[in-house]
């Protein structure tokens, strides 16, 4: 792969290229055309972990067409194997009675499937518009730096994760945290290594709605029954038996702009 980000006038960017000028990896990999295409693997010679088989069979039962279970099955196989390895694909193919090529085509289409081995912990940093306006690109650099030397941590930039209200944010093993600043990057790695809940005080699940009307009963279209007008004191769901005194979303969410911002002022 030849790629360079410098040289040229004003740092002109060169597009990374593989052989034959292709921008897609694998296009120049030699293919043995004398071989027959892979067929549906023989269940007798393809051992599948029983719990994985169970999950795939259950997923297939939910749909009128068993192929609909391709994505859930690949999710299960990825959880089992850490990535969509050829072996994992083979196992899914054996249970679903599909060819490995079909499942590979599906696995390579979606961003959440890993088609090469990566770290066990996923840190997806959103670098789309709203997050990048508030410093996501800088945070992504910090995150890459923090994860250096930690092969277990897989850091990737991701398209909009649907949490622009806590921008800049990241999804750490599926848990949304934000707004993040540079200091959070090493903390995320520390929390992951220690097996702790990641950035507990910055998790999206505790964030309250920002719309002032949601607490005002007069704004509610359906007049609340006095018996049900319990006042919210926690947002979202706390884990059961959770007695941690957390700053939580009750604390003002700060927007990390350069300028001092006062959330109470409109």
């Amino acid at each position: 792969v030849s790629a360079t980000n410098q040289g040229g006038r004003g740092g002109r960017v060169q597009v990374p290229r593989f052989g034959h000028g292709s921008r897609v990896p694998g296009w120049d990999t030699a293919v043995d055309l004398t071989k027959d295409p892979a067929t549906v693997p023989d269940p007798a010679t393809t051992p599948v972990p029983p719990q994985l088989r169970e999950q795939i069979v259950q997923a297939m039962a939910k749909y009128p067409d068993r192929r609909s279970a391709a994505i859930p099955a690949l999710h299960a196989a990825q959880d089992e194997h850490g990535w969509c390895s050829p072996e994992a694909i083979e196992q899914v193919a054996a249970v679903m009675r599909l060819t490995p090529a079909y499942l590979t085509s599906v696995a390579t289409f979606y961003d959440m499937f890993k088609t090469e081995p990566k770290g066990r912990h996923d840190v997806f940093v959103c670098t789309n518009i709203s997050c990048s306006l508030l410093g996501a690109d800088e945070f992504f650099e910090e995150m890459l730096k923090a994860a250096e030397g930690h092969p277990d941590v897989n850091v990737a930039s991701f398209e909009c994760l649907g949490a622009c209200d806590i921008a800049p944010m990241a999804s750490v093993n599926g848990v949304y945290v934000g707004p993040l600043d540079a200091d959070d990057a090493p903390r995320i790695v520390e929390d992951l290594e220690a097996g702790r809940t990641v950035l507990d005080h910055k998790q999206l699940r505790y964030r309250r709605s920002t719309d002032p009307g949601v607490l005002a009963e007069e704004a509610s279209y359906f007049a609340p029954d006095p018996a049900t007008s319990e006042k919210a004191d926690t947002a979202g769901l706390g884990p059961e038996g959770d007695n941690v005194d957390r700053p939580g979303p009750a604390a003002p969410i700060e927007t990390p702009t350069d300028e001092a911002s006062n959330p109470d002022e409109s």
């Binding site: 040229g8 006038r9 004003g10 740092g11 002109r12 960017v13 060169q14 597009v15 000028g21 939910k62 009128p64 067409d65 192929r67 609909s68 994505i71 859930p72 999710h75 289409f109 979606y110 961003d111 959440m112 499937f113 789309n128 518009i129 709203s130 306006l133 508030l134 398209e159 909009c160 649907g162 622009c164 209200d165 806590i166 921008a167 999804s171 599926g174 848990v175 699940r205 920002t210 719309d211 009307g213 949601v214 509610s220 279209y221 359906f222 609340p224 029954d225 018996a227 049900t228 919210a232 004191d233 979202g236 927007t255 702009t257 350069d258 001092a260 911002s261 006062n262 959330p263 409109s266």
Partner: protein, 443 residues
């Protein structure tokens, strides 16, 4: 206009995601009421409400339901919870905090449309929200709201939560159907439209989360009553996600038709002190951008369309004067280039060319003529693909070139000056252009 909450109504109430609290607040009463009505009457009620799809296209929901053929056949209902439009996060809050409202809406719509199999396609990244929905579906099933002959009626319905795996294109309805069938999420040629031939070739109704979550309220208050909210052609309330350079980013439920300024400044707090709005997206990154002069346009479907943009999924992204238009354009173009599924040439190539042209501007190699080429590329994408992903890039980029031309020209000039100061030895000769890379000498 009075502050009215329907979707976000007391949404932070503890335990609202459980059946017990939802029922205590009158949950599933609308389903009971709907089941005593005929499917035609339910559809008529939704038509009377005048509600338009909240996912982006703004198509009247009642009419969409009425398009489904009648008779005994396998019909499907799919709830589109693949919320991926940059800047949009309203469905996430609904599913996380009030999942039963969505489930009830799905069940009522399935009664109206006569579908027995229903699906919620949620994007794979929303793992926490999917877990909550899954638990809520199990609760609803145990309580007899989902299953054979629910609540003593002759309506039989199943509901399956399907988790995606990260692809923006799966929010496009036919791409979503292909993905739900277990394929790569490539959009299909239309017609036939999903209402005639959709999931598993059967007639399929596809609706956004917020649209379906509003249905219980419409049944409860009556369609005509709902239509009194908002404006005449954009009825009801809408949850708007405001993000970017504002002091209080978040979801706000507004009556359609309030001035955009009220939404951005009064509710979301506007940009930080000392900053001014430079541009804003009224409906996600796919909508043509607006300037600070457009802030008094009422926030509703028709006013925004008349002003040359759209309210799309209801995602307002505000960008203040500390950012350049070029950096916004680059983010937008890169996103669509990454997410283009590659099926149609104008989109696949057009998005990539646009990224390269922006790179050229940054590298100081562009001239103002490149802006004309950029605008013409956008024009040639629009309307020439199976789906609107390409258009979704072409519209905002086209609007940026049109509305911020002088700034972009200044940007080109500044980049050229920077580049001329660079070491001449580093210059790559223009002659080694890659013939695969499009008509422009890009390296």
């Amino acid at each position: 206009m009075a502050d009215v909450k329907i979707i976000l109504d007391r949404i932070d109430e503890p335990g609202l995601n459980t059946l017990a609290v939802y029922e205590r607040r009158g949950g599933y009463e609308s389903l009971r009421k709907a089941l005593t009505m005929s499917p035609e009457d339910v559809t008529q009620d939704i038509m009377d409400a005048g509600i338009r799809g909240r996912g982006g296209a703004g198509f009247p929901t009642g009419r969409k339901i009425s398009f489904l053929p009648h008779g005994d056949m396998d019909k499907y209902l799919v709830c589109n919870a693949d919320e991926s439009e940059p800047g949009t996060f309203k469905d996430r809050e609904i599913m996380q905090k009030n999942p039963h409202m969505l489930i009830e809406g799905v069940l009522i719509a399935s009664w109206a449309a006569g579908t027995t199999r229903t699906f919620i396609y949620i994007r794979g990244e929303y793992a926490y929200q999917a877990d909550i929905l899954e638990a809520a579906i199990a609760e609803a099933r145990d309580a007899g709201y989902i299953g054979e002959k629910i609540l003593g009626s002759d309506h039989t319905v199943s509901l399956v939560l399907h988790r995606g795996a990260g692809a923006y294109i799966c929010g496009e309805e036919t791409g979503l159907l292909d993905s739900l069938e277990g394929k790569r999420g490539n959009p299909r040629l239309k017609p036939p439209f999903p209402a005639i031939e959709g999931l598993y070739q059967g007639p399929t109704l596809i609706n956004n989360v917020e649209t379906l979550a509003t249905v219980p309220a419409i049944i409860r208050m009556g369609g005509k009553e709902y239509a009194k909210l908002g404006t005449e052609t954009s009825t009801g309330t809408k949850v708007v996600s405001v993000s970017g350079d504002v002091q209080r980013p978040g979801n706000y439920e507004i009556q359609l038709g309030i001035p955009s300024r009220e939404l951005i400044y009064d509710l979301a707090g506007g940009p930080a002190e000392g900053r001014e709005i430079k541009l804003w997206f009224p409906g996600g990154s796919s909508s043509p951008v607006m300037t600070k002069d457009d802030l008094d346009i009422p926030y509703d479907f028709d006013s925004m369309a008349k002003a040359g943009s759209m309210i799309g999924s209801g995602a307002v992204i505000v960008i203040d004067d500390s950012h350049t238009v070029l950096e916004v354009a680059k983010k937008v173009a890169k996103f669509y280039a990454h997410e283009s599924c590659g099926k149609c040439v104008p989109c696949r190539e057009g998005t990539n060319w646009t990224v390269k042209m922006i790179d050229r501007i940054e590298a100081g190699e562009a001239t103002p003529m490149d802006l004309d080429i950029m605008a013409s590329v956008q024009e040639q994408i629009i309307g020439n693909c199976l789906c609107v992903l390409g258009d979704a890039m072409a519209m905002p980029i086209g609007a940026m070139v049109q509305k911020f031309r002088s700034e972009l020209e200044a940007e080109i000039e500044a980049a050229r000056e920077r580049a001329e100061g660079a070491d001449v030895a580093d210059v790559i000769p223009v002659g080694v252009a890659d013939e695969h890379a499009g008509p422009f000498p890009v390296h």
